[in-house]
C-alpha cells in the first residue's frame, strides 16, 4: 500500500514537472496573475 502510494506520488510529480515544461513554452495562461517562472524554465 505504502509502496503504491510512493509510486503514485512519483508519477504525479513527474506529470507536474512535464506539465510545467509544456506550460513554460507559452507566453502566459488566461488568468490575470502570473506566478514567477523558476530560472530553469525561462527560455
Amino acid at each position: 500500500m505504502k509502496k503504491s502510494y510512493h509510486i503514485l506520488l512519483g508519477l504525479f510529480t513527474a506529470a507536474l514537472m512535464l506539465f510545467a515544461s509544456v506550460a513554460s513554452a507559452s507566453a502566459c495562461w488566461f488568468a490575470f496573475y502570473q506566478p514567477e517562472v523558476p530560472q530553469s524554465l525561462r527560455k
Partner: protein, 207 residues
Amino acid sequence: MDNLSYMAFSKRIAGYLAERTSASEEKEAVLAYIIELLVLNITGVLLAGLLGFVLGVLYGTAICLLVVALFRQTAGGAHSQSALRCGAITMLVFPLLAISGKLWTLLPYEFTDFLSIAAIIVSFIVIRRLAPVDTPQAPIVSPARRKRLKTMSILMLAGILAVTVFLSQSSIPSAAEIQNYLSVSVLWVSLVLTKHGHKLMELLDSI
C-alpha cells in the same frame, strides 16, 4: 525557493512532493510554480463559469474563455499584481464579455459584421506591433521564441477570421451570437496587450 513569491499552499504541496520524491530545490520551485498556475487557472475557470451560469451566459463565457486562453498562450498581456484580484478580474471579465457579445446580437446583423471586421483589423494591428507581451515574472528571453509566439498569434487570428467568415455565411441559429463572442474576445486580447490595458490592470490593482 524561499526567494520566489509563491503562495503558502503551493510551497507546502511542492515541499511535501519534493521531500517524498527526493527532488532538488530547483525542482521544488518548478512544482510550486505549476501547482500555483494550475490552481489559479482552474479556480478562474470555475468562478467565471459559475458567474456566467448565474447570469445566463455560460455558453458565451465558455467561448470567451477559450478564445482568450488560446491567445494568451502566444500573445501574453497585462497581469494583476495580486492573485486575489486576479481571481476577481477573471471571474468578472469573461461573463461581462459574454453579456456584451449577447447584447450586440440584439442590434441588426450588419452591426455583427461591422464588429467582426473592426475587431479583426484592430487585433491584427495590435498583435503585429506588440505581441508577445511578457512580464518580469515570466520574461521571454529568446528572440526566436518571441518571433515564434508572434507568428503563432497572427496565425491564430487568421483562424478566428476563417471561423468568423464561416459563421457570417452560415445559417446556424446562434452564428451571429458566436461571431460576437469571438469579436469581443479578440478585442479584449488586444486591449490587454496595449499600454491602456496595463493601466487598466494597474487601476484595478490600486482599488
